[in-house]
Symmetry: D2
Subunit: 134 residues, 4 copies
Amino acid sequence: MRVTEMLRAYPADLGRVDRKTLADCIQACLECAQACTACADACLSEQNLRELAKCVRSDLDCADLCQATARILSRHTGYDANLTRAALEACAVACRSCGNECERHANAHEHCRICAQACRDCERACRDLIDALG
Amino acid sequence: MRVTEMLRAYPADLGRVDRKTLADCIQACLECAQACTACADACLSEQNLRELAKCVRSDLDCADLCQATARILSRHTGYDANLTRAALEACAVACRSCGNECERHANAHEHCRICAQACRDCERACRDLIDALG
Amino acid sequence: MRVTEMLRAYPADLGRVDRKTLADCIQACLECAQACTACADACLSEQNLRELAKCVRSDLDCADLCQATARILSRHTGYDANLTRAALEACAVACRSCGNECERHANAHEHCRICAQACRDCERACRDLIDALG
Amino acid sequence: MRVTEMLRAYPADLGRVDRKTLADCIQACLECAQACTACADACLSEQNLRELAKCVRSDLDCADLCQATARILSRHTGYDANLTRAALEACAVACRSCGNECERHANAHEHCRICAQACRDCERACRDLIDALG
């Protein structure tokens, strides 16, 4: 996994953060952002699109926050614990919200089922990292 | 301002949010994201770049969160108060942090002075909108 | 306009590019990205959403390319003419495509009318800057 | 790989594009965007940062274009061949440029070596997909 390789190649001190927890969270954010982007688009091709309008919106918000969070977590120079925590918190809220919305359509639409899982995984990864940061 | 025009053209109910407070916050996020992106780049051309490394990093984080927040605030369908508040909170934290860092270099570098002001304006706009959301 | 202020504060040589053409293009990209994000969301609240699915998709692509282009144009250190031109070209193509799609709905939906105008303005600003870069 | 799962779950026709080539390109864009974001940050912590200023800038541009391209490629509704090709072209140019710059520092800095590889892989994936689109 390149995320782990890049963490290992960071030339300064990464602090006391657990590297695996951090790498897993970056990876989960990247996967969730992609799944949400693809799910929003898949919804646009569904017959019952009108019922999926809220799902599209949740997907788009979640993709934007996961992406911003993945970027922030990929930076270690001048580490700012408050900012990292606030970003993770916002990301976890977006993942919770989008996961709940996608789950409502998981039986009808496979893309919502997969996306709900990506959101659950990412929410947990954010919570794990918040705990690990102390 | 196109932000205001687009708010006015939204076909459904915008809820009880004050439109001017919302439009001002979107505009402040857009301007702050651009200022931070430009400030990070301007730092890269400074002689004392080594002393500005933390400033570049703060700029990049702040740009990413302002941009995600501007997008989230531009969406009204399926409004989610918890998510909006969490994004605004993270954005305000990033603006506070970046504003403080840029201010330390404001006397030496005009781009840091302008960027610090953009961060202050955006932090206040986020706080105002958090208050307006109740 | 902060975009212009930030250009003026850049500490190194900006090259032979016309500053007004550059600033106008950055501003047009920012406005178009926001208009497209808001138009996609407004479409989600329309009764005839099914007919607007392609419009939502065009909006999302255009927002992503305008945003990336605004960021690239906000950087001047280590300027790369090929990359700048390729980004502007992709952005102009996205604006042309989204402008055409939005225009089809401009009579029915005010947000599509405004967004089409933002796309036309941004496409022209990109073409003007491509010409100015030589 | 969730990218592949999401492609498989797309409810409409994906057209004649080879799914593996498409999935590989999305994945390569995601990995390259992350590697570039991390490499830019790692450069900020290097002693010879002044010599790496252009590398940071290339990294940031490349991250932005890879990210936009990953999103565009994740959407299939209302497919627009011209736009897809223009985005892939811009992304390939950015990867070429960033790969060249990172390669210059690959012996000195492991993060530049890994990032150069990610850029090469992503450039090839974009070229493969351009060819596959015909």
